[in-house]
């Protein structure tokens, strides 16, 4: 813990990222209290109002308060980010580690499958999957996760191939270790670092991807608030009511950026070489 504080002092950007994430996270979690209005409350009298003291981010085309919608929408978007990063990394790492240890034809088969998936541009594949599954936020999440898994498989397998050659793994073979033992006790721990870092960075990426899907109508459906969907709808009003698109857009920007900063910092944190001996 003290080491964490020391690293934060040395890395002010990571501190900034963490602070921003904490603020955003807090606001989103406490949306019930922080939001001044019900996000779905329609008020046609004040539709498309500019930002003001009453409506900090203005209102949308049916008079819903955008600030409240941004707060509640954060739940959806950040939820997507966490789900995708968490699931894809765990599933992908498991497949990759196992494949790396087993080797041989199984490994070859797995990797060729992953290569095929990776060769298709991810946005196109995600869109196709999401469209096939049906437009909803959950399906969007699933589509993004499935398409992200091969990255983690490749990453984990690469790490495993390196760890497999380390002397402590060879030592484990000499005492008759089973493959399961080696993966559980040696590979998982030592491969974790770059996977965790990648997952942190992916949170921001997943939010952006969900936003992109929402932009084309495959993600969250109305009246659910979600940042991407809001940006999409706000397109129609961009010239005169800029706040409709810009405010959720800024939310996406800030969150993704903060995730990236934290991800970079986590990489330094987990690198054992940077520790004092």
């Amino acid at each position: 813990m003290r080491y964490l504080l020391y690293q934060l002092r040395r890395n002010p950007l990571m501190l900034l990222g963490l602070a921003v994430l904490a603020a955003v996270g807090l606001a989103v979690v406490l949306a019930d209290w922080a939001a001044p209005y019900d996000p779905e409350r329609i008020d046609l009298v004040h539709r498309l109002a500019a930002p003001s003291a009453a409506h900090w981010f203005g209102t949308d085309e049916v008079g819903r308060d955008i600030f409240s919608r941004v707060l509640y929408g954060g739940r959806q978007s950040i939820g997507v980010g966490l789900f995708v990063a968490g699931c894809a990394s765990m599933v992908g790492a498991a497949i990759g580690c196992f494949s790396g240890i087993v080797g041989g034809r199984f490994d070859g088969l797995v990797m060729r499958t992953m290569d095929v998936v990776l060769s298709v541009p991810s946005l196109v594949l995600i869109m196709a999957l999401a469209a096939a599954l049906g437009p909803s936020l959950f399906n969007a999440m699933l589509a993004i996760t499935l398409v992200r898994i091969p990255f983690y498989v490749r990453l984990a397998r690469g790490q495993t191939l390196g760890i497999r050659e380390m002397a402590y793994v060879q030592a484990a073979w000499t005492f008759g270790a089973t493959r399961r033992h080696v993966v559980r006790w040696h590979v998982a721990r030592n491969a974790a670092s770059p996977i965790v870092v990648q997952a942190t960075l992916d949170i921001g990426g997943a939010i952006l991807m969900a936003a992109a899907l929402g932009f084309i109508g495959l993600g969250a459906q109305q009246p659910t608030a979600e940042w991407g969907a809001m940006v999409a709808t706000g397109r129609n009003f961009l010239l005169d009511q800029w706040w409709y698109t810009v405010t959720p857009g800024c939310a996406i920007l800030v969150t993704a950026l903060a995730c990236n900063l934290v991800g970079d910092g986590v990489r330094d944190l987990l690198d054992p070489k940077s520790r004092a001996k």
Binding site: A167, Q170, T174, H181, W185, N190, R275
Partner: protein
């Protein structure tokens, strides 16, 4: 090319006339580990059909017998095949030809061989606490291993060891190697080099082995730490009746610790015998060159003009006849035939692979 530790490779031939000698590997002096005419080749390049065309010949006919209770040293420079030999002895590598024998002990199980690696930094998992590293051999093979000493009837106590039992065993082992049990919760990288090597030794002791293969155990350590570790190794051998196979390029360490020694060059044993004899009065020209080059405090190097480097010939194409012929100051007719490892009648335990050395 790694297989989990196992018994002798298929194709092992019993040593001719071995009947009486294999009365059981329990008796002191009886062979406890043996390799017979082992050849190991690694494919380096393959043709378009996948058949290997170029090989690295790591071991070219090595036969050794390690006896219970002794410390057997293997000396050689890089490329001589000693690390490959260590892998074969551990059962990590199946020889291309020849076999590994582990004569069974009194209780019928094959001798247990453990290994201590050269680099204590990379041979211990940096993300495990020290006590887990020490007891890993007891849990690695699926959990059903005896914790503590084997019963007198030889049957292992088949208990799945709980965490407390494992920790207790780790503490006991730590004390034996000179570590404090309180420190075992720390991670490996928080220990010094000498302490890490002690952890590695404790790990090797955990399953109560018969033989410990030590692959350059002190090469990565400071001189003063080396002295402590060598003393520890000697003491453990006395206390547990262990057999050591010490692989090293450091001749003084081998001279200090070992009873018998074999000198390797290009995958062959070129000289073998009691350590005092081989290292004080070497017969084979390579052994002489090697011992001559070892810097010693009391023997200055002559101020010769520097010579062109004489380095190991590659092991992809083995030389004809004697492998050392290209570098040997005594090369003469007869050296173009493969040399046999022979002892002279006046020193039957000291064998060397050179027909010329016998006459000098």
């Amino acid at each position: 090319m790694m297989t989990p530790a196992g018994t002798a490779a298929p194709g092992a031939r019993p040593m001719p006339g071995a009947g009486a000698a294999w009365a059981g590997a329990g008796a002191p002096g009886a062979p406890v580990l043996e390799v017979q005419d082992v050849h190991v080749r690694f494919p380096l390049a393959r043709d378009w059909r996948g058949r290997p065309v170029v090989h690295a010949h790591a071991l070219n006919g090595v036969s050794l017998q390690v006896r219970r209770g002794e410390a057997f040293g293997i000396v050689g420079e890089s490329g001589c095949g000693k690390s490959t030999l260590a892998a074969v002895l551990m059962g990590l590598l199946r020889p291309t030809e020849g076999g590994l024998r582990r004569p069974p002990r009194a209780d019928g199980r094959p001798a247990d061989v453990q290994i201590v690696f050269q680099d204590p930094q990379s041979s211990l998992d940096p993300r495990l606490p020290a006590w887990r590293v020490i007891v890993e051999p007891l849990v690695a093979a699926g959990g059903l291993k005896a914790v503590g000493s084997r019963g007198r009837d030889g049957a292992a106590r088949r208990v799945r060891p709980g965490k407390a039992a494992l920790r207790a065993r780790a503490d006991a082992l730590a004390r034996q190697v000179g570590l404090r049990p309180e420190q075992l919760d720390r991670y490996v990288h928080e220990f010094s080099g000498g302490q890490r090597q002690r952890i590695a030794i404790a790990r090797a002791l955990a399953p109560d082995p018969d033989v410990i293969v030590l692959d350059e155990p002190t090469s990565a350590l400071d001189v003063s730490v080396q002295a402590q570790i060598l003393n520890l190794l000697r003491e453990l051998r006395r206390a547990h009746g262990l057999t050591y196979v010490l692989i090293s390029h450091n001749v003084s360490v081998v001279r200090h610790l070992c009873d018998r020694v074999a000198v390797m060059y290009l995958g062959q044993v070129v000289e073998q015998g009691p350590a005092a004899q081989v290292l004080e009065s070497p017969r084979h020209p390579y052994t002489r060159e090697l011992l001559d080059a070892v810097p010693r405090l009391d023997r200055p190097w002559p101020e010769d003009a520097p010579a062109t480097p004489a380095e190991l010939p590659g092991n992809t194409v083995l030389p004809q006849g004697c492998f050392f012929r290209g570098r040997c100051p005594w090369a003469t007719t007869g050296c173009d035939r493969p040399q046999m490892l022979l002892a002279r009648p006046d020193a039957p335990l000291h064998a060397y692979r050179c027909h010329v050395a016998g006459t000098r």
